[in-house]
């Protein structure tokens, strides 16, 4: 049995255990789910540590027949790209559980239900990045929506029901378009090489350009909604505003990455010619996302809305890196996914604590927090600086790689992309100035700083942001071989520099 399956099984068993604990024992429930998620995180670290970096193929592979009639297998495995994303997911879950220890208590349902939903979500998050069977991927991709939907609708605030439905319908719509494309691919495979959903085998299909373009669009739309790219983004700010902090972290940090991951794993791999055909358009969309997300973020009054729109801008960068079709761009995009998860998680978590203390999400209601709550303010500041890609912090390396990778092929796009960096300084520094610096408002005088639990939860995130800013190599070493394979095996090559010495 693959270690990936073990990780998923532990979560399933954990969720099953919680089911038998009386609802009233909330502390016990929380402790168990935290323990389980830490255990899975440790296994995740071990998984990444024991990955053979010299090999670019799939590792920790497990293949079992699931529905032989359709050639569907339960098959999992990881390469550098997916291993890093799994690491990201399993690290975030315990952090989220610890950081939002009390959030589940004000929900519509019991704390136990919340913890079970999170653990089930963790199963799907691992599964979606580990699946090497297209059908299995789709199953995880869609099944993930259900726990998130209940997490938003049951434990969120404000217009939570509407936000949950909007999230679900957008994702379902995209998912079903992808299903049509999956069926198309499956039928073509049935005619050419026999019924299979194995991604490696599917990538050998000979598909004519028109069909490929249509199938590509089916996949891409689903991923663009998930990621989300402009103009499919409108569900994200609503969801982020209404969900609990923890849900927002998992939603933006992990679920949305499935979109960009899918572009790499499926759009590029299965439909290389179509990818090439649509690249200019996608780069265009990515640029609009970068600029639009940044500009709208500047105007946000709600601090969670702000973070959501900055993420839209960041997803623009990631998508641009992917479709630049250079190894640097690809590596940068993958590293970006990892870094973005942690800097956004930090922003969301601290914003959540600020909101819980101040009982308001309005940026204007804060002010002078630096003096009253120095630890909270500093953590937010560092996370914010990472979000605007300050050199020395994690996001800088990835954003730089993306821009360099894009510049070698699409110089104009890269130049326009840099405007996003300037805007990022605005959308981070303006709220930082308003909320953290300046005069302490009267209403904020009595706010309390982070307690021990919160400090323990946020410390590893901040640490990771700083460490990866200084030494991105360990993660890049994992990503690079896989990223190179993605580029070369799909028939792309890095453009040769035209400048001569």
């Amino acid at each position: 049995m693959s270690i990936l399956t073990v990780m998923m099984l532990i979560c399933v068993i954990g969720a099953g255990m919680l089911f038998f604990i009386p609802t009233a024992k909330t502390v016990l429930v929380k402790q168990i789910s935290l323990a389980i998620s830490i255990l899975v995180a440790l296994i995740g670290i071990y998984l990444v540590g024991s990955l053979d970096k010299t090999q670019s193929g799939m590792q920790f592979v497990e293949i079992r027949n699931w529905i032989p009639t359709f050639g569907i297998n339960y098959s999992v495995g990881v390469d550098g790209i997916s291993a890093v994303l799994i690491l990201m997911s399993v690290l975030l879950v315990p952090i989220v559980l610890l950081a939002t220890w009390n959030e589940s208590e004000n929900g519509r349902w019991s704390v136990r239900t919340f913890q079970i939903l999170v653990l089930i979500l963790e199963v799907f998050m691992i599964g979606v990045f580990a699946a090497t069977d297209l059908f299995l991927f789709y199953v995880f991709f869609e099944a993930m929506l259900i726990p998130v939907y209940f997490l938003i609708a049951g434990y969120g605030s404000g217009e939570r029901a509407a936000a949950a439905v909007k999230f679900l319908l957008y994702s379902l719509f995209g998912g079903l378009l992808m299903l049509a494309a999956i069926i198309g691919t499956y039928v073509i495979a049935g005619n050419q090489i026999g019924k299979t959903f194995d991604i490696e085998k599917l990538s050998t299909l000979q598909i004519d350009q028109t069909t490929q373009n249509l199938l590509f669009l089916g996949f891409f739309l689903a991923f663009a909604i998930k990621a989300p790219l402009w103009p499919f983004h409108t569900w994200l700010p609503d969801a982020a505003r209404s969900a609990t902090t923890g849900t927002s972290v998992l939603l933006v940090g992990v679920l949305d990455k499935v979109g960009t991951y899918g572009m790499i794993k499926f759009c590029l791999k299965l439909f290389p010619e179509a990818s090439r055909y649509f690249t200019p358009w996608i780069i265009g969309l990515a640029l609009v996302s970068i600029i639009y997300g940044a500009i709208v973020a500047i105007g946000q009054k709600d601090i969670r809305g702000l973070i959501a729109f900055t993420s839209i801008s960041h997803f623009g960068f990631i998508t641009m890196g992917i479709f630049a079709m250079t190894t640097q761009g690809m590596s940068g995009a993958n590293l970006y996914m990892f870094n973005h998860a942690f800097s956004t998680a930090a922003l969301f978590l601290i914003a959540g604590w600020m909101i819980a203390r101040r009982k308001s999400a309005n940026i204007a209601d804060f002010g002078g927090l630096q003096r009253v709550t120095p630890v909270m303010a500093w953590s937010f500041f560092i996370a914010g600086l990472s979000s605007l890609a300050l050199p020395g912090l994690a996001s800088f390396v990835s954003e730089f790689l993306v821009l360099v990778g894009t510049f070698t092929r699409y110089p104009v796009a890269a130049v326009i992309g840099t405007i996003g960096i300037i805007l990022a300084a605005l959308y981070i520094l303006i709220p930082v100035q308003r909320a953290l610096h300046g005069q302490t408002l009267k209403s904020n005088e009595n706010l309390s700083d982070l307690d021990i639990r919160e400090r323990v939860a946020i410390a590893p995130v901040i640490l990771l942001i700083i460490l990866l800013g200084l030494f991105p190599k360990p993660i890049l070493d994992l990503i690079n071989p896989a990223a190179k394979t993605v580029i070369t095996s799909n028939g792309f090559s890095d453009p040769v520099s035209k400048v001569k010495k």
Binding site: I67, Y138, L177, I183
Partner: protein
């Protein structure tokens, strides 16, 4: 020289057993003590169904075209369909035998003193059991009829009891009777259309046997226009039964008016039987001229899927909503008819079974949600159900997710199987529309889930009845099937694969 007509009683025995049970039930009604009748009738019906299932198992690998002097074809697909109908019948019977849904005395005028008297006496209309048996026998015959006359007789044998059953609701009797009348009148029209089409087919082929019609159609002699007229009118009769748009108008009214357990049976079993016949006719008889009818059926399938899903959004009554959802599902299964290949047939068989079981479970759960006046089907009153009974509401939510085709439910596997089969034969437009209307359909399923779990309950008048053992078995088994077939569809897919064979 005289030859003995071949009957092959063994192959006919499942149907004969059910028919015999129906007749015995009628006799019991006439001669036995009314006080014991409910138990006796239930015993007869359940016993007959179990016997018939055993017979089905015994003949599972036989096939014959000459049973009942060639009026009946027993092949793999027939045996599978008959088995499915029997299992659905058995589970529906468990729901139906929870008596309080049925009128005490059907002949009494609604609101009259006579009605009050019989209600207070606690008398029970036990004719529902033989009626159900007749319907079951008719449905079984419908799936294997190989000539137009038998097909028509079977159609009537299963329709007439259903018309009656629809009118037997204990509460809101006028609504129930109106539903029965509507069903009957429209059903009569559709039968007339069917006969009209049958006459044309007889006209061009000179025979009522499907085999002869098939060779006449593929031979190309006769008049193409007449073939098409015959085909279209026969289809109208059949499409009415599966409630495809534009022949669906009866569905919401009847589903709403009929006693809920009868609705459950109708929704599940009628679809199996009617699609059995449709599949046979299109796969066996009309497949040579697929080019002529495929556009028509494609359009009907698309309209049915989109219309059913779109109109369901506006429904405020849970039974009406499920009625429109069943219309949408009819469209999905029609997609499998278009596929015209073995995987299409297998997919249709799988879908019919899983959909039938989920539908039974869903309607079974509806029978449990009550207030002082009986079942509550107004969706607004369902608000907050998740708090009252997480298990029941959770099961219902799961069934709705299965209807919506979310992965890890049997509904998803069914949809995938059907759409991939249709795609194989190049009906890509239908697949795209099907997928899009799935997204549309998800909207109203999710709205109900939201209502149950998230909305604040406005009143506390509704309660959840403690299910009897029989209901518990029926609802539990069908819900479990939806879960298990979602996780391990191969259990059933292997069976449908090996049983998806029509012979001429």
């Amino acid at each position: 020289m005289l030859t003995t007509p071949s009957f092959e009683y063994l192959l006919l025995s499942p149907m004969l057993i059910i028919l015999a049970a129906a007749v015995i039930g009628v006799l019991a009604e006439a001669f036995l003590d009314r006080n014991h009748l409910p138990v006796i009738q239930l015993f007869i019906s359940v016993g007959a169904i179990l016997l018939a299932l055993i017979q089905i198992y015994r003949i599972k690998s036989s096939s014959s075209t000459s049973a009942a002097i060639g009026s009946v074809v027993i092949d793999k697909a027939t045996i599978y369909l008959q088995g499915t109908i029997l299992i659905i019948g058995l589970l529906a019977l468990l729901l139906i035998s929870d008596q309080e849904q049925f009128v005490a005395q059907a002949s009494a005028i609604p609101g009259s003193r006579e009605e009050q008297e019989s209600t207070s006496k606690g008398s029970i209309q036990t004719e529902i059991y033989p009626l159900l048996s007749f319907a079951l026998a008719g449905m079984m015959l419908f799936t294997c009829a190989s000539d137009l006359i038998t097909l028509f007789v079977a159609l009537e044998v299963f329709s007439l009891p259903l018309y009656l059953l629809a009118g037997l609701s204990r509460r809101r009797r006028l609504l129930s009777q109106e539903a029965a009348l509507k069903y009957f009148l429209l059903g009569a029209y559709s039968s007339a259309f069917f006969l009209f089409g049958a006459a044309f087919l007889y006209g061009i082929s000179g025979s009522v046997y499907l085999v002869d019609i098939s060779s006449a159609v593929s031979g190309g002699y006769g008049n193409d226009v007449f073939v098409l007229i015959g085909l279209i009118f026969i289809s109208v009769g059949l499409l009415f039964k599966i409630s495809a748009v534009p022949f669906h108008a009866w569905t919401p009214d009847v589903y709403q008016g009929a006693p809920t357990s009868v609705t459950a049976f109708m929704a599940a079993a009628t679809k199996v039987a009617a699609f059995g016949a449709i599949l046979r006719i299109f796969y066996v008889v009309f497949s040579p001229i697929a080019n002529q009818w495929r556009p028509i059926i494609s359009v009907i399938a698309i309209i049915t899927m989109v219309f059913g899903s779109a109109v369901a959004i506006a429904q405020r009554d849970v039974k009406r909503m499920l009625a429109y959802s069943s219309i949408a599902h009819a469209g999905f299964i029609l997609t499998a008819v278009l596929a015209l290949n073995k995987s299409g047939l297998s997919a249709a068989l799988f879908y019919l079974t899983t959909y039938g079981l989920s539908t039974l479970a869903a309607f079974g759960i509806i029978t449990l949600i009550r207030d002082a006046t009986g079942e509550v089907t107004d969706l607004n009153k369902w608000a907050g159900l998740g708090k009252k009974s997480p298990l029941i509401a959770g099961s219902f939510a799961f069934l709705l997710l299965s209807f919506a085709g979310i992965p890890l439910t049997s509904g998803f596997i069914g949809k995938f199987a059907i759409f991939s089969a249709a795609y194989e034969t190049g009906n890509i437009a239908v697949v795209v529309f099907g997928v899009l209307s799935s997204a549309l359909a998800a909207f109203f399923y999710i709205r109900v889930i939201l209502l149950m779990f998230v909305a604040q309950s406005q009143n506390d008048s509704i309660s959840i009845a403690i299910p009897s053992v029989k209901s518990r078995i029926a609802i539990g088994a069908t819900t479990a099937a939806t879960v298990i077939l979602g996780l391990f569809p191969s259990l059933l897919l292997n069976i449908t694969q090996s049983f998806s064979i029509f012979i001429k």
